[in-house]
């Protein structure tokens, strides 16, 4: 140590007359998370608009077109909700797991396994053809949720018992599920050598609004199916589960502080497996809803990445079940708009920018930002 130390004032490279400074927030006002989320989406749309404008498009016209082609009529609104349905269920799957800081990146794989499980009921078949819907559909739901739950419990078990990183395991298992599905649609369930199964019998179809067109003429052509109700009911149940149930309390406690949870006598190992299984079951149900409500057969291309979009959905929703519904509808609209807008990468780009903006906006929740004039 030297005896005297000169006072050295900061001399940074910046020439700007002001500087930004971050200070940790002590309390977060209730309105702030909503405001930052809204702000982030607006900024994201502005950035997207700028890119569209540079690319030679008319951003306003494009956004109007996107809204028009997703919400413009009863028909397209219905299509948007159909796209939102699997997102709600997989989004809930992610939101629940993320609450406990379990990074389930495997909703896609659990979705595929759920679709497979539901298909097995009618393709093996487990129930003979002609079994009434009232039996077939619940059975498909149970099979899908069981398949998803088992598939979700694998990374949960590995994480809880062996400490294996769940991100790697769930990510890899997505590919395993994809190949598992491929095997069945190329092999045992292939119809005439094509890579898809035979169509499901009508009793395995989820009822659509258009089925009621006889009674309500306006419903004609509306593709919204019962899966949407699964999603909405699941959101209510999951909300209750997280905020009002004993296990939900345990999950929130573990998510905030695993050490405090252990101190409170909570079995973290068991909860890890249980939450992963529930998460997988929700994603599995999404797979069932998709094959029984939309595709009506098992094929390889049943998901345009719902399980991955679900991660963004859960994040935007700030892990709140009702937020998942809103975010899912917004993303359903973007997916639908992908059909209308060329190149179809534009909605994906907007999604990406929204995600980045949201992650960046977190800083406003954690810090207060102060602008300071630099002294000369």
């Amino acid at each position: 140590m030297t005896t005297t130390s000169p006072v050295r004032l900061p001399a940074r490279g910046s020439r700007l007359p002001w500087s930004l400074r971050l200070e940790r927030r002590l309390a977060v006002p209730r309105w702030l998370p909503v405001a930052t989320t809204a702000g982030a989406i607006i900024v994201a749309l502005a950035i997207s608009g700028l890119i569209l404008w540079i690319a030679g498009g008319d951003p306003v016209a494009i956004f109007v077109h996107i809204i028009g082609s997703s919400f413009g009529s009863l028909g397209v609104l219905s299509d948007t909700l159909v796209k939102a349905t699997p997102l709600i269920l997989t989004g809930l799957a992610c939101a629940l797991a993320f609450r406990m800081r379990l990074w389930n990146i495997g909703a896609e794989g659990q979705f595929l396994m759920g679709a497979w499980g539901a298909s097995a009921v009618v393709l093996i078949p487990i129930v003979p053809a002609g079994t009434p819907s009232i039996v077939t559909i619940p059975l498909m739901m149970v099979a899908a949720m069981a398949a998803g739950a088992v598939y979700g419990a694998i990374p949960g078990f590995l994480k809880a018992v062996r400490g294996v990183n769940e991100i790697i395991v769930t990510l890899m298992l997505n590919y395993v599920a994809l190949f598992w599905l491929s095997y069945w649609v190329f092999g045992p369930w292939s119809e005439g050598g094509f890579q898809l199964s035979r169509p499901f019998p009508p009793e395995a179809w989820l009822p659509r609004l258009s089925d009621a067109a006889g009674a309500v003429p306006d419903f004609a052509g509306l593709t919204v199916h019962l899966g949407l109700a699964f999603g909405l009911v699941a959101a209510v149940i999951i909300r209750f589960f997280i905020f009002r149930s004993r296990r939900g309390y345990e999950i929130r406690l573990i998510g905030d502080s695993p050490k405090a949870a252990r101190y409170a006598g909570i079995d973290v190992t068991r909860n890890t497996i249980v939450v992963f299984a529930i998460s997988g079951a929700l994603a599995g149900l999404a797979g069932m809803s998709e094959v029984a409500g939309v595709v009506h057969r098992l094929q390889q291309a049943i998901s345009p990445g719902y399980g991955f979009t679900a991660i963004i959905v859960a994040y935007i929703a700030k892990l709140h079940p009702y937020g998942v519904i809103v975010a899912s509808i917004a993303f359903g609209a973007l997916i639908l708009a992908g059909r209308e807008i060329q190149p179809s990468g534009i909605p994906a780009m907007i999604q990406g920018i929204i995600l980045f903006s949201l992650i960046a906006s977190e800083v406003f929740l954690r810090y207060q930002i102060r602008l300071e004039r630099r002294e000369a």
Binding site: T2, R247, L253, D267
Partner: protein
């Protein structure tokens, strides 16, 4: 400064009219503060008086809303702690900024420009061991932070500042985590630094150590200075206490006579390993009876943390048995300990004792959320939770705007009230209290002591692990001294001799010989 002594030393730091506001609070309201070169200046005040805020302003962590800081006579404006440390001003915070998975050396080098690419760990290890040796800060440079006790981690923080060449050292309640012997070592370190021309700001709310170490003292209360730079020679403990809290503190503790009942906790030959896989408990046998407080004294890192963890099911023991009212809880789960009504006031309030982002209500039900009326088989009755939480908030004066407030927004004293409220509400048969008053202000310490004595009167068996000998002697009926994982002495508090305990705590005469522990036959 009006007093003539001001001219005797150059002002290392001069702060004038510092104002710092936080939402809803004025933490510093026009505060003046001087630090002379070559002095230890104590900054005294209760929790929330604004001491830490003032020093955070000085250390470049906060920008003041108004006021001026001068360093060696020149205006200084620190935009970050890095600027402050570059000017030779380093602060050791209460909450350490260490990377748990890295070694001591790596933590100390973190953020420095040297070494640039290749870390020649061996060379730096030696350098740091040397620096540590010179200042009497015993710590293994190769140890990883998570393996260290809180006391050792503090030494790493001090080393970090010294390694960066700090000439003005700000210590935020440094002795809160230290045992008396360690505190004495720290004081020696500080004295030698000061003799060398460095300056120290010593934030504290312990009157005894302030009079012991400081040259001058500045007292703060509610964001304002109530005594500015008073030479310590002209003060009295009770006078300072009055300036600090605005009322006289009762320094004696009222307690009922000692009437122990049947044995609640019985430990027999308990052995357990620490986080580093080394034996932390080496054959502990202790009994605690109802209506009794057993104080466990010892320097940090001699097995007290592990002892508390074994008692509460958080750590496995490799040998021996732990029973509560005859039921074995050793090597079971934390849940089994809770079922046997073992309450635990943990050492780490923010990391273990509470979930910082959950509400006060959620934190209050941690031990009873499985029971009626708070919950049924599946669900939690939010109305019952709120009623329960509000009742405890009233009864234990937990200062929070509502039970929905996040726990992390509570001050240290209120957090500890919350923890004690929750643990007492679980109707403990055995209360395991670890450093229950560490870092609390005088008022909160009084509350904690009273609550522990109330539990004793109510028939709980209490095991109090504390590094504060005075606290142990004031509260405990019997005192066990731990050293290197063993109980090296067991006394009736009435007959206990502080000097002897201090000697045993530091391994004097007991480091090699195992003292045969007699199962106590009190009463």
């Amino acid at each position: 400064m009006s007093d003539p002594q001001a001219d005797q030393g150059a002002l290392a730091v001069e702060m004038r009219g510092i104002v710092k506001r936080f939402p809803g609070v004025v933490a510093n309201n026009g505060v003046d503060f001087d630090l002379r070169a070559g002095e230890v200046h104590a900054l005294l005040g209760e929790n929330g008086a604004g001491k830490s805020t003032l020093m955070n302003v000085l250390a470049g962590l906060y920008r003041p809303d108004a006021g001026e800081v001068r360093l060696l006579g020149k205006p200084a404006e620190f935009r970050s702690p890095r600027d402050a440390i570059a000017a030779g001003l380093g602060m050791v915070h209460q909450h350490f900024a260490l990377v748990p998975t890295q070694t001591v050396t790596e933590n100390i080098l973190l953020g420095l420009h040297q070494p640039r690419f290749r870390l020649d760990a061996g060379r730096y290890d030696d350098e740091i061991a040397d620096l540590a040796g010179r200042h009497g800060l015993a710590v293994d440079p190769r140890a990883r932070i998570w393996q260290l006790s809180v006391g050792e981690q503090q030494r790493v923080e001090i080393l970090k500042m010294l390694y960066r060449g700090a000439r003005i050292l700000i210590l935020d309640e440094p002795t809160a985590v230290l045992a008396p012997q360690e505190a004495a070592d720290l004081f020696r370190t500080l004295r030698s630094m000061v003799a060398d021309g460095a300056s120290v700001v010593f934030i504290s709310h312990k009157l005894g150590e302030v009079t012991q170490i400081a040259d001058r003292v500045t007292v703060m209360r509610r964001g304002m200075v109530t005594a500015a730079g008073v030479p310590i020679a002209g003060t009295t403990t009770s006078g300072l206490a009055r300036l600090m809290v605005g009322r006289e503190i009762l320094e004696t503790i009222d307690r009922t006579s000692f009437a122990p009942g049947p044995v609640v906790l019985a430990m027999r030959d308990v052995e357990a390993d620490g986080d580093r896989g080394l034996p932390a408990l080496r054959g502990i046998s202790l009994d605690v009876r109802t209506g009794e407080i057993l104080g466990v004294a010892g320097v940090a890192g001699n097995g007290q943390s592990e002892l508390a963890q074994v008692l509460t099911g958080l750590r496995r023991c490799s040998r021996g048995s732990v029973t509560v009212s005859g039921v074995e809880i050793g090597n079971r789960t934390p849940r089994d300990a809770i079922i046997q009504h073992v309450a635990h006031v943990p050492e780490d309030r923010t990391g273990v004792g509470t979930a910082p982002n959950l509400s006060v209500a959620d934190n209050l039900i941690m031990k009873i959320y499985r029971e009626a009326p708070v919950s049924t088989r599946w669900s939690i009755d939010m109305g019952a939770v709120r009623r329960f939480a509000n009742r405890l908030r009233e009864k234990y004066s937990i200062a929070a705007p509502s039970v929905d407030t996040q726990a992390r927004l509570l001050s240290g004293g209120n957090l500890q009230r919350l923890i004690l409220a929750r643990e007492i509400a679980s109707e403990p048969k055995l209360m395991v209290a670890v450093q229950p008053t560490r870092g609390l202000d005088v008022g909160a310490i009084g509350t904690v002591h009273r609550l522990l004595l109330d539990q004793r009167a109510a028939g709980a068996a209490t095991i109090l692990l504390s590094e504060d000998i005075d606290e142990v002697l004031a509260l405990a009926d019997r005192v066990a001294v731990m050293y290197e994982g063993r109980v090296v002495g067991l006394f009736d508090a009435a007959d206990a001799d502080v000097a002897e305990i201090g000697l045993l705590m530091t391994g004097g005469g007991a480091s090699t010989a195992v003292v045969p522990v007699v199962v106590p036959g009190v009463a």
